[in-house]
């Protein structure tokens, strides 16, 4: 765990992430300017840092209704605005970037932030960026696998000799600057077993997205990942697992659902073409559902329950999707810092 900068004796790591969506607030019908939204994300990272959260990450999406296409630049600003919190991407779309540049960017952020930078690398769930950035969608899988392997090699070796199909060969190339220790590089997994197995076979940490659904279903994905690690000659107990999903707390579960539904529903409509069915959203409050939307007490219990089942090392919550007003985000961070974190940490710490 140590080489991924995870210390189990500190308990479950708790973070928040933003996809960098730039959506209208459905309650007011207004949308922030890109400038305001970007600054809001930096402010959110600052608050998370001050509240003692472990991790803050920013997504890379190149379609309409998003604002953090240049997510490494945003992370660099966050590095300067924060002091202790780890920072990363959720996710960096490696398929359409050069791994040399990706390493250069993140190693720089790591140096500027006193070793707080991490990469979560994904394949993109949406593919408009292939045309935008000049890649062929037919190479969807090949591009990612090759670039991910190269990025991991660069992360370990300052001088890289490498040959592949999708970029020019490297001959004893010196990739600089070097982070003081290798960067934690996670593989983003969308929720399917097959994708988790790929992460396991490669011997890399897995970050698992889970928007909604039974805890038991995601447990089987996590089991598949750990089995694939062990079968591939790695030791699963050495690899951290992160999970990611919707997060919102209020005084009561009823209030939390009321607060959050319009944002998630309208946001999904805009970005995904279909809203979030109320019936499925209502099921989200069940203890056995992964969606962490509810009262402070119930969500704390759910996070602890998920930790019992998953034995994972990090949870990151998405609380700002769909034009959520900043006041609501501030309130959430306050609840997190004062009520949820102390309890979660207390009960998830591993005895040394």
């Amino acid at each position: 765990m140590e080489k991924f900068r995870i210390d189990p004796s500190q308990g479950l790591e708790f973070g928040i992430y933003t996809l960098g969506d730039h959506l209208m607030n459905p309650e007011t019908g207004t949308r922030l300017s890109a400038k305001e939204r970007l600054n809001q994300i930096i402010e959110l990272a600052k608050l998370a840092d001050e509240a003692g959260l472990d991790f803050f990450s920013v997504g890379e999406s190149h379609q309409d209704f998003f604002v953090t296409q240049a997510h490494t630049v945003v992370l660099s600003a966050i590095a300067q605005a924060t002091k202790r919190i780890k920072i990363g991407s959720s996710a960096s779309i490696l398929s359409t970037s050069d791994p040399v540049r990706v390493y250069e960017d993140f190693a720089t952020i790591d140096l500027l932030s006193d070793s707080r930078a991490e990469i979560i690398a994904g394949r993109a769930s949406r593919v408009g960026l292939f045309d935008l950035l000049g890649y062929d969608l037919n190479d969807y899988e090949g591009l990612f696998e090759e670039k991910f392997a190269l990025l991991n090699q660069i992360n370990q070796e300052a001088y890289v000799t490498w040959k592949g199909n999708y970029r020019k060969a490297l001959e004893h190339a010196h990739v600089l600057p070097r982070a003081e220790a290798p960067l934690p590089i996670w593989r983003a997994v969308g929720g399917t077993r097959s994708s988790a197995i790929k992460a396991g076979r490669m011997g890399v940490p897995m970050h698992l997205a889970m928007l909604g659904g039974p805890v038991s279903t995601f447990k089987s994905v996590i089991d598949a990942y750990r089995e694939a690690l062990d079968q591939s000659g790695f030791h699963s107990q050495h690899f951290p697992i992160g999970t990611a999903g919707f997060f919102h707390v209020a005084e009561t579960t009823q209030q939390a659902q009321k607060d959050m539904y319009p944002y998630i529903n309208e946001g999904m409509k805009r970005t995904n073409g279909q809203g979030f069915p109320k019936q499925a959203f209502a099921l989200g409050k069940d203890k056995h559902n992964v969606m962490n939307i509810g009262s402070v007490e119930e969500v704390t219990e759910k996070i602890l329950y998920q930790h019992d089942v998953f034995k994972h090392q990090r949870y990151i919550g998405q609380m700002d999707f769909g034009g959520v007003p900043f006041k609501q985000l501030m309130k959430n961070i306050e609840y997190l810092g004062e009520k949820i974190l102390p309890k979660v940490k207390k009960y998830t710490k591993e005895e040394a």
Binding site: Q63, S125, R126, V127, L137, Q257, M260, G273, Q274, K278
Partner: protein, 187 residues
């Protein structure tokens, strides 16, 4: 209420002729908007698995039009004992739950009565998988019912009229059910 009529073939004229009759039947009803998609007029790519909003050109236009439907009327011929590839491609382009909360009515044209059950066995399972509510009876029209791009069997007109009425009623009934369900939630 928005009705989308999909003529699912790029071959021949019978399915389009039938769907024009469906369109006419809907136009007898008030408070409806009706949009006709004839696949002959569009140049669609084959599905490559991407999200439907990431397509461009005609493919984007057709998939977005279908997603906007409250009622979807699908017209299909039967080729080689199945639905045409053009129509299957439209389904492949859409998300798995694309037809959730949509009511679907079906009109089938075929060269032989032997094709009657193809819809039961091949089209309805696809629609169920995609979460559609399907009006159970469909209009099955044979070659002999057409002449020079016109329907010459009066009974076909009556059956189309019945299908349109039934589909509208089914949508109204389901809207009531869905509303009742929604009203249970206070968020």
């Amino acid at each position: 209420m928005h009705v989308v009529i999909l003529s699912g073939s790029t071959v021949g004229s019978k399915t389009k002729t039938a769907m024009l009759a469906v369109e006419k039947a809907f136009q007898q009803h008030e408070a409806l908007t009706v949009d006709m998609i004839d696949l002959k007029d569009y140049d669609l790519v084959f599905s490559d698995g991407r999200h439907y909003l990431d397509y461009t050109g005609d493919t984007k236009i057709v998939t977005e039009k279908i997603m906007q439907a409250d009622i979807l009327m699908i017209g299909t011929p039967i080729f080689q004992a199945s639905i045409p590839g053009t129509l299957k491609n439209v389904f492949d382009l859409l998300p798995t739950k694309a037809l959730e909360k949509k009511v679907v009515g079906l009109v089938v044209t075929a060269g032989s009565a032997k094709h009657y059950l193809v819809i039961e066995q091949q089209l309805k399972p696809i629609l169920s998988y995609m979460k559609a509510v399907v009006s159970s009876a469909y209009v099955f029209i044979e070659e002999q019912d057409f002449h020079l791009k016109a329907i010459v069997n009066d009974d076909v007109h009556f059956r189309i009229q019945t299908l349109v009425e039934d589909t509208l009623l089914l949508k109204e009934a389901y809207d009531g059910v869905w509303q009742k369900k929604e009203d249970q939630y206070d968020f």
